[in-house]
């Protein structure tokens, strides 16, 4: 049977979001909006020390404060709960790697902000009052406040039983002939690159309401999470509850970018407290806690050697990295292997040496932040610019020379994945045309003569979103995506997805696909999210939704249509192969008069379903990604640097991108712009700063600076014609790319602007004071060359 699919009506258009009416009228329902009868409020006592032994926690005075209902210490919570790893890591199968740790500090505090006690009271204000009355005795320990300190074998172990602060010892691997590549090179670049610590900072912090029902034994959790199932598993494991007795509900979520599992230490502690008290408890993280304790990312440093021929061929890379994972392990350990895998990018790279060391320090946990492995693009795209300059080649031409050709069979990255359908060459060429580099260079020269310093920078990336099929497949639950589709009695096509939107508009995009495939109007589709009782297990992340959720929705809608048409055929006394669903009605192809509204068919099926299994109009579909591929793109920034103040202004920013077929262009562009804004923020404004004693210095928005409308220019976006790989599903993820490639784009532009001063940049954070230092150091900042 040939499937005649009518031309898509919604897919590919910027359908207005169904989420917007409630969001625009203040009718969204975020966790802190939830009020339950008898609800109590939680606040945490947190360590002011980076490192210390916890000698005593005296909660007596706090307990006596009117309005305070309970106070829990770390020891008390340990007695009430079962130890376990971070639930997100457990979900992806990496739980065993982590040292287990308690919900609150019990014997030691290991970073400023480490929770020490939990106060439950009749209001958040009263709980904070109670926190001030908890008396804690600490004995200072020498802080391990940097990777360098952690690498020192004499440093005090952050975890006594680990013996030292190197938690993953370096083990070198080589792919290709690394020694040969460097021996044959005309140019060997040797440099050290630093990526600074910064963080997700969604506008809504962590928040949870946990409501026990002693009667039914059901624990209802209202969570801000990227996966209700992960939250459920984490809380159930920790409280030793049957997961069937834990129901996790998620409504609107105010952003996450990788932060929210709904089951971090504090959230699990609140769950334990609520369960113990038999009353609902709410915890809404305030901004100070959020910045200090919710987790940070990207603190990695790299010793890099790069080998090239004088004609401009990239011959090899040798990278040795150190990642500062903070104290309590969350996501740090998954990053280095992914960095290694992605280092070659879309280029021909015949040799790669790699080694990584992971250290633990007295800092907040290293967590996932939008493209956690992004430093590979920073390292590679920075090094390419540095090589180009030493060789006297144009950075864009140098890249074009080294981009892997799109061959059949495809060029395979040294690290294993084939570069199928990658349009890097096209994106770079299109970018060049849009920017008109010769005209810019003329303008740049004219402005330099007037004492103004403009620069242009380019960078390119690919992202496994989710990437081509891997031999052996993806880890466990990420290998497939499952969705359940049901034609409800009233004719609504209802889709149950484990994707948990937190700004991405899945309830719109998945409805677009379902509407097109099934044949009903967009308004007749309902996408159900955020209820662990009814949605399949999934993780929202890794830019997987477009392919995995989009794909399973497409195939699931088709499968349901087959089922519906089989039933309708009996109802309408026609042959199923003659029927189609168009505009919400089932009809005999070519005979509009035969049309029966889908709602009528659904109603009939509902009546018949008790007796007839085939009348139960529901399918559960699973999808493995099909012939999935890469997303990618090339970005360009034009900046102006005020060389007297160090202030950098991004004058123009362009992105030429390929994320496969677009489901909703406006949503795609929003994802790119948001990611780029975070990258500009990272370079110019954002730093999670610790001093040498481990004191956290960026605990308010006056010190952790987010970019505003005055710092982010119009971001021009062009979508490339993609290479179709799969017969049906060519949507690819776009959520992380903007942040992956924008930092090197901007840094490359700044270095270009400062070329007259001989500046070379080996770091990602360039606040005004640092820019002036680089200018002053000028030519003295060049790399070591051989």
């Amino acid at each position: 049977m040939t499937t005649q699919i009518p031309a898509p009506r919604y897919t590919g258009t910027s359908v207005k979001r169904s989420e917007d009416p409630r969001i625009l009228t203040g009718a969204g329902r975020y966790v802190d909006d939830i009020k339950l009868p008898g609800m109590l409020h939680a606040a945490f006592v947190r360590s002011p020390l980076a490192h210390g032994r916890l000698l005593a926690v005296d909660t007596a005075a706090a307990r006596e404060l009117p309005g305070v209902v309970a106070v829990f210490t770390g020891a008390e919570l340990d007695a009430m709960t079962v130890p376990g790893p971070d639930p997100l890591m457990a979900f992806v199968g990496l739980g065993a790697m982590m040292p287990a740790y308690g919900l609150l500090a019990a014997d030691k505090v290991r970073f400023v902000g480490d929770p020490v006690a939990l106060v439950i009271a009749d209001s958040r204000a009263r709980a904070e009052d109670g926190c001030e009355l908890v008396e804690v005795d600490y004995a200072d320990l020498p802080p391990v406040a940097s990777a360098a300190a952690a690498l020192d074998p004499g440093s005090t172990p952050v975890f006594d039983d680990l013996g030292g602060n190197v938690i993953v010892a370096p083990r070198r691997s080589e792919l290709g002939d690394v020694a040969g590549a460097f021996a044959a090179a005309d140019l060997v670049l040797d440099c050290h690159l630093d990526v600074h610590r910064h963080q997700n900072v969604p506008m809504e912090g962590r928040a949870i309401v946990v409501s026990p029902d002693p009667g039914t034994g059901i624990l209802t959790v209202y969570a801000a999470t990227q996966s209700v199932q992960i939250t459920r598993a984490g809380i159930a494991q920790r409280l030793a509850l049957d997961p069937a007795k834990v129901r996790v509900l998620a409504g609107d979520i105010g952003g996450s970018f990788g932060l929210k599992s709904g089951a971090t230490r504090e959230e699990q502690a609140v769950a334990a407290a609520a369960y113990s008290l038999g009353r609902p408890v709410k915890w809404t993280e305030d901004r100070s806690e959020h910045l200090t304790a919710s987790g940070q990312a990207r603190e990695e440093s790299f010793d890099v050697r790069a080998a090239a021929s004088k004609d401009g061929d990239l011959l090899g890379l040798d990278v040795s990295m150190v990642i500062d994972t903070g104290a309590y392990q969350v996501a740090g350990l998954i990053v280095p292997p992914t960095i290694q895998m992605m280092l070659p990018g879309p280029y021909k790279l015949p040799a790669l040496g790699f080694e990584s060391t992971a250290v633990t320090t007295n800092k907040a946990s290293y967590i996932s932040y939008r493209g956690p492995w992004a430093s590979e693009t920073f390292v590679r795209e920075r090094v390419l610019d540095l090589l180009a300059k030493e060789l006297g080649l144009d950075p864009l031409e140098f890249r074009l020379r080294n981009v892997a050709p799109r061959t059949s069979p495809p060029y395979t990255m040294l690290t294993g994945r084939p570069l199928i359908g990658v349009t890097t060459r096209e994106s770079l060429e299109r970018l060049a045309a849009l920017v008109d580099l010769p005209a810019f260079r003329a303008r740049q020269a004219a402005e330099r003569a007037r004492g103004r310093y403009l620069g242009v920078g380019v960078a390119t990336f690919i992202e496994a979103a989710p990437g081509p099929r891997m031999p052996g497949g993806m880890p466990g639950p990420l290998a497939t995506e499952t969705t359940r589709l049901r034609l409800a009695e009233d004719g609504t096509l209802t889709l149950f997805t484990g994707q948990m939107p937190h700004g991405q508009g899945h309830q719109t995009t998945l409805a677009q696909i379902a509407a097109d495939e099934f044949g009903v109007p967009f308004e007749q589709v309902r996408v159900v999210v955020g209820d662990s009782d009814v949605v399949p297990a999934a993780l929202t992340g890794g830019s997987r939704a477009a392919t995995m959720a989009g794909g399973v929705t497409l195939h699931g809608a088709r499968q349901l249509k087959v089922k519906v048409l089989d039933f309708a055929a009996r109802l309408m006394e026609a042959s199923a192969s003659d029927l189609e669903i168009t505009d919400g009605s089932v009809m005999v192809r070519g005979d509009p008069d035969s049309a029966v509204p889908v709602a009528e068919v659904a109603a009939a099926a509902a009546t018949a379903a008790a007796a007839d299994a085939d009348a139960d109009l529901e399918v559960t579909a699973t999808f493995d990604g099909g012939e999935s591929g890469w997303s990618g793109g090339s970005h360009c920034a034009i900046v102006e640097v005020d060389v007297e103040t160090g202030i950098v202004k991004v004058e123009r920013y362009l992105a030429v991108e390929d994320c496969g077929e677009l489901i909703n262009p406006a949503i795609v562009e929003g994802q790119i712009r948001g990611g780029v804004a975070q990258g500009i923020g990272a370079v110019l404004l954002e730093r999670s700063a610790y001093d040498q004693d481990g004191n956290f210095q960026s605990a308010t928005f006056m010190d952790y600076l987010l970019p505003t409308a005055c710092e982010i220019p119009r971001i021009e976006i062009e979508h490339l014609q993609t290479v179709l790989l799969d017969a049906d599903v060519n949507f690819r993820g776009v959520g992380e790319g903007g942040l992956i490639v924008s930092p090197p784009t901007v840094v490359n532009a700044i270095e270009d602007a400062l070329a007259p001063f001989g500046v070379r940049i080996y770091e990602q954070h360039l606040p005004p004071a640092r820019v002036l230092e680089l200018i002053a150091a000028g030519g003295a900042s060049g790399p070591a060359l051989a």
Binding site: S14, K16, R17, E19, D20, P21, R22, I23, L24, T25, G26, A27, G28, R29, Y30, D32, D33, K35, A125, V201, P202, M203, E204, D252, I253, G254, G255, F257, T284, D286, R287, H502, G503, Q504, G505, A666, I667, E669, G670, R673, G674, G675, V676, A677, Q678, T700, F701, M702, L706, T708, A709, C710, I712, R714, I715
Partner: protein
Amino acid sequence: MADITLTVNGATRTGSAEVRKTLADFLRDDLDLTGTHVGCEHGVCGACTVILDGRPVRSCLMLAVQAAGHEVTTVEGLAPEGTLGPLQQALQDSHGFQCGFCTPGFLMQATALLDTHPEAGEQEVREALSGNICRCSGYQSIIDGVLLAAERANGSRAKG
């Protein structure tokens, strides 16, 4: 504790709250108007912006008692329930927002801007909104929505 009576979205509202409670928390907790969001509690992010006596203010930096006797407009007051006002509609049309947490603050700030500067151009809109932080959108779609609302309003002004 203090009894606080004020006008919110045109209606007289009364509540009883500790004197230390901010206007933002009072609106959310005591008046059940959870559209106003709390993003930082120190006056930087703008998520809590409401209009007080015609001016945009950060409701996290006012005590609820200070608003007694005053007129406050929150996001819930921008249009009759179940409908979108012209600014809201323009921001849906421009795909202005993503997660929605910053949205009410932006809507109130933009409302205040367009009330006093209906002819505002892009740079003026950018500066007027620079006290509101959005982490999702990169701002362009929000600015476009505000400009679209202004254009539509000016169009109807020109016609009418």
